[in-house]
């Protein structure tokens, strides 16, 4: 009989201890879910930077600065990936004509314009060809050639249209 009473008492004590433990765990869960204030979150961020993205993802009041930080981190991660580096090959350098080549091209265009001037006209196909030649010149020489051509057209020396 004494044994039964002892066992019953021990069971009661163990049940009480278990109940207290469950209550304690419940309290901790409540604290975690309801007690995560901005200050607490800030403190956690300061103490544990790794928790930042988790906090910003679940917190209902995410600040603009937090969002910017996350976006910056994500963009930095994207830039750092080898796939991204491989998908943007370096642009090949544009071939630049040598001064001799430019001089030769300018002379050829001047001869063409002189020919059209002596003939008094330029047809559409010839104009297209001439403009293609002019387009390949560097900017300064291109402007000079276009100036010569349009002036000759405007004076009526070359009958034609751009």
């Amino acid at each position: 009989m004494k044994l039964l009473v002892s066992l019953s008492a021990a069971q009661t004590v163990l049940l009480a201890a278990l109940g207290l433990k469950v209550f304690s765990i419940d309290m901790q869960i409540d604290d975690l879910s309801a007690g995560a204030t901005p200050h607490a979150a800030q403190a956690e961020r300061q103490s544990d930077p790794a928790a930042l993205s988790w906090e910003t993802a679940r917190a209902p009041s995410v600040s603009v600065e937090d969002m910017r930080l996350v976006i910056r981190e994500e963009l930095a991660a994207l830039d750092a990936t080898p796939r991204n580096q491989a998908s943007t090959p370096a642009q090949p350098a544009r071939p630049q004509p040598s001064p001799e080549q430019v001089k030769h091209a300018v002379s050829a265009i001047d001869r063409d314009i002189s020919l059209f001037r002596s003939r008094g006209a330029i047809n559409e196909a010839e104009m297209a060809t001439l403009q293609s030649k002019i387009a390949k010149l560097p900017l300064a020489e291109r402007r000079a050639a276009l100036s010569t051509l349009t002036k000759a057209m405007s004076k009526g020396e070359i009958d034609g249209w751009m």
């Binding site: 544009r94 071939p95 630049q96 403009q131 293609s132 002019i134 387009a135 390949k136 900017l139 291109r142 402007r143 276009l146 100036s147 349009t150 002036k151 057209m153 405007s154 009526g156 249209w161 751009m162």
Partner: protein, 136 residues
Amino acid sequence: MKMKHKIIATGVAAAFMSTAAIAGFKQPAPVDVDLVNRFAQGDMVSAQQAKDDVTFIGCGIRKIDTGAGIVSTGFCQAGDADEEQFTCFTQDPELLAATASTADFSFITFAWNEDGECTRIGFSTQSFYLTDKMVK
């Protein structure tokens, strides 16, 4: 007989009403090329309907792939009834963008410097440049 008069009167009234519907302010702008002050202007409808075979006005762009990139050259050209004409060119990005904004039947105005480069390109697309024939 009275019925016939009514029909005729209704037809005449309808004709006048349709004329009134296409009436409105009109301001044709014949092409004028001023070589002294270096500008030209005029609307495309007036140029196209000029009573001569020398009047014209227009602007355009040529984009050429040179193998080392795309080179864009814009131009405007006009000739008037006095047989004065001018063609200007531009490679300025802003003026090229302006050239691309042209529309059918626009009024066009452009100016140039001593090198023949365009210094102003403008368009205006408005109802008063259209003719009655175009909207009938």
